[in-house]
């Protein structure tokens, strides 16, 4: 197949920034982040089922600085992907295509993501320290 460099039209250099652009690529980015987080779920289940002697090590890894950073990132990614995913499902049934609605639902997704992440963080923290 010939690998000819064909000219493409400009995109990022010419379009005015809108919230929908950012949210769209964020949906893909968070999806990928969650995808690369799945091995942790695998590791968790394998450790719990086959190697419980090392479960404490796994737990310690999750509670470490890098572990908690990743967990926080995945929590935020998850809530964002969930909320924006629901926004996508509304579009799939044909609802919410007016520009104002797209803007409003977009900002609602951002707000909800922060809210839900904060709530989970708080609940996890109080649970962990309460044990």
């Amino acid at each position: 197949m010939p690998n000819v460099q064909r000219p493409t039209s400009p995109h990022l250099t010419v379009y005015r920034w809108q919230i929908s652009m950012t949210l769209s690529i964020l949906h893909r980015a968070t999806g990928l982040a969650l995808y690369f987080g799945t091995p942790v779920i695998v590791l968790w289940l394998v450790t719990a089922a086959y190697d419980p002697a090392h479960y404490e090590d796994f737990h310690r890894l999750m509670k470490s600085g890098i572990g908690e950073f990743c967990l926080l990132g995945w929590t935020a990614s998850f809530y964002y992907h969930l909320c924006n995913g629901i926004r996508h499902l509304f579009w799939d049934i044909g609802a919410g295509f007016e520009l104002k609605q797209i803007d409003r639902s977009g900002w609602a997704v951002v707000f909800l993501t922060f809210l839900l992440t904060a709530y989970t963080l708080h609940t996890a923290f109080t649970q962990a320290t309460g044990q």
Binding site: A49, R60, T123, Q127
Partner: protein
């Protein structure tokens, strides 16, 4: 779809099958949506369970939680829907960004195998906990 007045040039079989000119694609789109809807309650349940009962470093508690019938069933459903959704999502990303045929098809295969592989590993681990006796702490 025939507009009013214009003859529909599709054969009856073609119309019955309902496929477009590409003959596939919408299945992928639909399955992505079905798994998305299924994942809504399943993931919320999982995050809630994680925070409520699974933050402990006591593996017995975790094993008992996973072994219970309802939790095991919901976990299996979560894993099936989740890895299917992930596989489909990653597939579109790979198809969008990877242009070299060697790299593209390698990654597509890797994606499929990893998703099924991880799902199998996880499900069997859960089944192991569910069917084999887990030592009770009390």
């Amino acid at each position: 779809m025939a507009t009013s007045g214009a003859p529909d040039m599709r054969t009856k079989l073609g119309r019955a099958k309902g496929l477009g000119s590409a003959h596939h694609g919408v299945g992928h789109w639909w399955l992505q949506r079905v798994t998305a809807v299924a994942l809504m309650p399943l993931t919320i349940w999982f995050i809630n369970s994680l925070v409520a009962s699974l933050l402990s470093d006591n593996y017995l508690k975790v094993q008992q939680w996973l072994a219970s019938p309802i939790n095991a069933t919901c976990m299996v459903l979560l894993l099936v829907a989740g890895f299917t959704h992930a596989r489909l999502g990653a597939q579109v990303v790979i198809e969008d960004y990877v242009k070299s045929p060697v790299a593209k098809y390698t990654l597509l295969l890797l994606n499929t195998f990893l998703c099924y592989g991880f799902a199998a590993i996880c499900i069997i681990a859960i089944l192991k906990l569910h069917f084999l006796d887990v030592a009770t702490s009390t």
